[in-house]
């Protein structure tokens, strides 16, 4: 089985709400694929459809070419963390992993292995009800790793983790991808994935917004923009505007220039004899690129308050 996730024209409607609307993308082995979108964009629904928990109205989600429901020992093919709190609070962490292992005929020793791998060794015999959010998250990750699967799906794995945990999970995700696994990680915050994901699938309102590498997305989104700090703001504005650039004033001594490369801005200002203390090229962050992409597809945007005091 080639470790891939293929989502093809997937569509799912709950009553009157279309949660996923003709979504297609592929998660390839050896990469961390970030699955990004605002809250309510359909990320969790897509993951449930991939895992055969919900049935799509149209389209298909395939794991290595197979429907999840036709997999026989699915935990050895796909590991998933959906909701880390989905553990019976009265059950010991070890027993939670043990029943999962039994259900797929996974050797018992794997339980001890993954507990050590996620750093829960000392809490293995404690009841899951007393776990912190971070410990629950680690237990959920342990469950996903239990069957040593070539495909991994994590829904918001960073939630509730402390800074150490965040560093740890980023390292883990990269390691898993480096081992040749296909890793799909969802988040509603692009920043969480910035240093981790190799590839990005961005969705909004159930539709695909972008399916691209991280580098390409950043490049596409960062329009040429230059910030100029100068005492002669008005003169500078006039010179640049005359040359065809869009100039915006952002402070008493600072303007931003769009539609013109930075070296031309520098040449124009020097040619006009306008002194500037700073000229910097601005690169868009992934977060900004994402905000640009998903603007208009945010389900719960704050409404503008009319007549509010400025």
């Amino acid at each position: 089985m080639e470790p891939t996730i293929e989502v093809r024209a997937l569509r799912k409607r709950y009553h009157t709400t279309v949660a996923v609307d003709g979504l297609s993308f592929t998660v390839r082995p050896g990469e961390v694929t970030g699955f990004v979108g605002p809250n309510g964009a359909g990320k969790s629904t897509t993951m449930r459809l991939i895992l055969g928990l919900d049935s799509p109205d149209d389209g298909a989600a395939l794991i290595g070419g197979q429907h999840y429901r036709s997999l026989r020992t699915p935990l050895t093919k796909v590991g998933a963390l959906l909701d880390a709190s989905a553990v019976h609070p009265g059950r010991k962490a070890r027993d939670h992993l043990l029943w999962l292992a039994h259900s797929n005929g996974i050797p018992k020793r794997r339980v001890g292995d993954v507990i050590e791998q996620v750093g829960l060794g000392s809490a293995a015999r404690r009841r899951a009800g007393g776990f912190s959010l971070g410990m629950q998250q680690r237990l959920g990750i342990a469950a996903a790793l239990l069957g040593d699967p070539p495909v991994l799906i994590f829904d918001e794995p960073v939630n509730g983790l402390d800074p150490d945990g965040i560093v740890w999970i980023r390292g883990l995700l990269k390691t898993l991808a480096a081992e040749g696994r296909a890793v799909l990680v969802s988040s509603h915050l692009m920043g969480e994935l910035e240093d981790t994901a190799d590839h990005l699938v961005v969705i909004g309102r159930g539709r695909l917004v972008a399916d691209t590498s991280v580098a390409a997305l950043v490049a596409a989104a960062s329009k040429e923009r230059t910030e100029v700090v100068t005492a002669q703001r008005e003169e500078a504005t006039a010179v640049l505007a005359r040359a065809g650039a869009t100039v915006a004033v952002i402070a008493s001594d600072t303007v931003t220039v769009e539609g013109m490369p930075a070296d031309r801005v520098s040449a124009l200002l020097t040619g006009a004899g306008i002194a500037f203390t700073e000229l910097r090229r601005h690169r868009a962050t992934l977060e900004e690129a994402y905000m640009d992409l998903t603007r208009g597809s945010i389900e719960y945007a704050p409404e503008a308050v009319e007549g509010s005091a400025r």
């Binding site: 449930r48 895992l51 055969g52 928990l53 919900d54 049935s55 999840y68 429901r69 036709s70 997999l71 026989r72 020992t73 699915p74 935990l75 050895t76 796909v78 998933a80 959906l82 909701d83 709190s85 989905a86 553990v87 019976h88 009265g90 059950r91 010991k92 027993d95 939670h96 043990l98 029943w99 999962l100 039994h102 259900s103 797929n104 005929g105 996974i106 050797p107 794997r110 469950a143 069957g147 040593d148």
Partner: protein, 508 residues
């Protein structure tokens, strides 16, 4: 990784789930403790005076019997042949069902019980008996009013002869300890009905002809109590062609009816009598000859705690299902095993086996612990033979009661899968068991029988080792144990089927 999918492993998985939640294990233990504890507690509240009753008689096998009739007899020694023609048998007229001023409790109407037993009704026959003491060994050939010709002995053996009524010739032949019965339409061509060896027949036994007429049994139940009333009846018969080798003087005796005097004082029918008329005799008799086992059931009485244990099992069953829906754990389950039908089957099997083991241990322990107390309170031999676990009906009651408890726990689990809420599932199941019981207790007469045939409460019938009866306050005594378990099985299968359909169709 050499992982393998197999159903036994899925069972192991569900078993791991079940045993790893301490609260459930404690509730299982609680189910057992409640069954045993409540049984032991209530066993000491239950009393009977059956063994001290003045009409209490035991037969040769030390079983409670009724042995009341009018006997025209004489002693006979050794082998003999006795022949009689029953010229006519006049059964009692139809008893009045609702007599005003009846002293039944609360003035409720009484229901006449139909007794299908071959020992019931009226009979005219011939008998050889170990003296005239009530409860002694005997063998008889008899013509009944509506159950044909029969041969009976020692209150326990009954052989069917022809279906004749009206006039019939009867014959008993003694050869050593063996008595053989014959019948004939004409006194010439004889048909053997059977042979029997009564337990204690002395060399010199009493032989003669008799009339019996079983009392009409009335019952009134409902409102949580029951009462059983007897009204004596009497039948008349004419015997002629009486032929006995070495016959001497006949004498008539009312066999043991200590109530006769009292009844006569109340204007009831007198005891029996006989008069010689021409070549024959006219005999009036009252009373019944046959087994008379009390309806109270010692096994049922000892298992009274089952209802409490059942409540605990219902909780475990429901929680085993609804806990999956708390916090979306069902998703983890179905991600691990996408074939949902197998998950449901594995859950049902694991819960079923666990509940059965707990229930069976509970009911066996409850019976063994309650027995000594019940014995002390009157539930003792001979009216109440001590039940042994190896007695067929006792073993059946214990095994089926445990099955009943298990099936109700499974029903609660199925309802839990459907309702997905613990409180709703537990309440629904408890109401479905208890409400028909309460209504059945209150409803009068045999009305609750249909309730028992159609609701989970019918499963309580599994607790009885004795045959069904309508004379007790508890409505489940009206139906048989197999009918009871069948109803519960049907409910549980239907609920599991619905749960399966729902699991297949809906998103998790």
């Amino acid at each position: 990784m050499n992982a393998r999918e197999s159903f036994p492993r899925l069972l192991l998985s569900e078993w791991t789930k079940l045993r790893s939640v301490p609260r459930w294990v404690i509730t299982f233990a609680g189910a057992m403790a409640l069954t045993i504890g409540l049984s032991a507690l209530l066993a000491s509240a239950n009393r009977t005076d059956a063994n001290e009753h003045r009409n209490f008689v035991v037969g040769p096998a030390n079983d409670p019997v009724s042995d009341t009739f009018y006997f025209v007899h004489q002693p006979i020694t050794g082998d003999t042949t006795f022949t009689v023609r029953v010229a006519s048998l006049t059964p009692p007229r139809e008893p009045n069902l609702r007599r005003p001023g009846d002293d039944s409790p609360g003035g409720d109407s009484m229901t006449l019980l139909e007794d299908p037993s071959p020992y019931a009704g009226s009979a005219a026959g011939i008998m050889i008996k170990d003296g005239t003491r009530s409860g002694s060994s005997y063998a008889s050939m008899l013509l009944t009013a509506d159950r044909g010709v029969r041969m009976q002995s020692d209150y326990a053996t009954d052989r069917e002869g022809s279906a004749s009524s009206g006039t019939r010739w009867l014959r008993l032949v003694r050869s050593g300890d063996t008595i053989t019965g014959y019948e004939s339409a004409d006194g010439t061509n004889w048909t053997p009905v059977g042979s029997t060896t009564p337990k204690n027949l002395p060399a010199t036994a009493e032989i003669g002809f008799y009339v019996s007429s079983a009392p009409a049994l009335y019952t009134s139940r409902g409102g949580g109590s029951s009462s059983l009333g007897e009204r004596p009846t009497s039948a008349d018969a004419t015997f002629d062609n009486v032929a006995l080798d070495g016959a001497a003087q006949w004498r008539g005796d009312q066999i043991a009816d200590q109530n006769a005097d009292e009844r006569e004082g109340k204007g009831g029918p007198p005891g029996g009598r006989y008069t010689a008329s021409g070549s024959g005799f006219v005999v009036t008799g009252t009373g019944a000859i046959g087994p008379k086992v009390p309806d109270d059931d010692i096994v049922e009485g000892a298992l009274i705690g089952v209802i409490a244990g059942l409540m605990a099992l219902i909780s475990v069953g429901a929680l085993f299902a609804t806990s999956e829906y708390r916090r979306g754990m069902i998703r983890t389950t179905f991600v691990a095993t996408p074939r949902r039908g197998r998950v449901l089957a594995a859950k049902a099997i694991v819960l079923g086996i666990s509940a059965y083991v707990v229930s069976l241990a509970g009911v066996v322990a409850a019976l063994l612990l309650a027995l000594p107390t019940m014995k002390k309170h009157g539930f003792a031999p001979p009216a109440f033979p001590t039940p042994s676990l190896s007695d067929g009906p006792v073993a059946r009651a214990l095994l089926l009661t445990a099955a009943f408890m298990t099936l109700v726990a499974l029903f609660a689990m199925a309802v839990g899968m459907l309702a997905r809420r613990s409180a709703a599932a537990i309440t629904t199941t408890i109401v479905l068991v208890l409400l028909p019981l309460i209504i059945g207790m209150v409803l009068p007469g045999t009305a609750p029988r249909w309730l028992m045939y159609t609701t989970l409460a019918g499963g309580m019938a599994t607790q009885r080792a004795k045959p069904p009866t309508v004379t007790l306050a508890e409505p489940w005594a009206m139906i048989g144990p197999w009918a009871g378990i069948a109803v519960v099985t049907a409910y549980t299968c239907a609920a599991l089927g619905l749960a399966w359909l729902r699991l297949r169709r809906t998103d998790a």
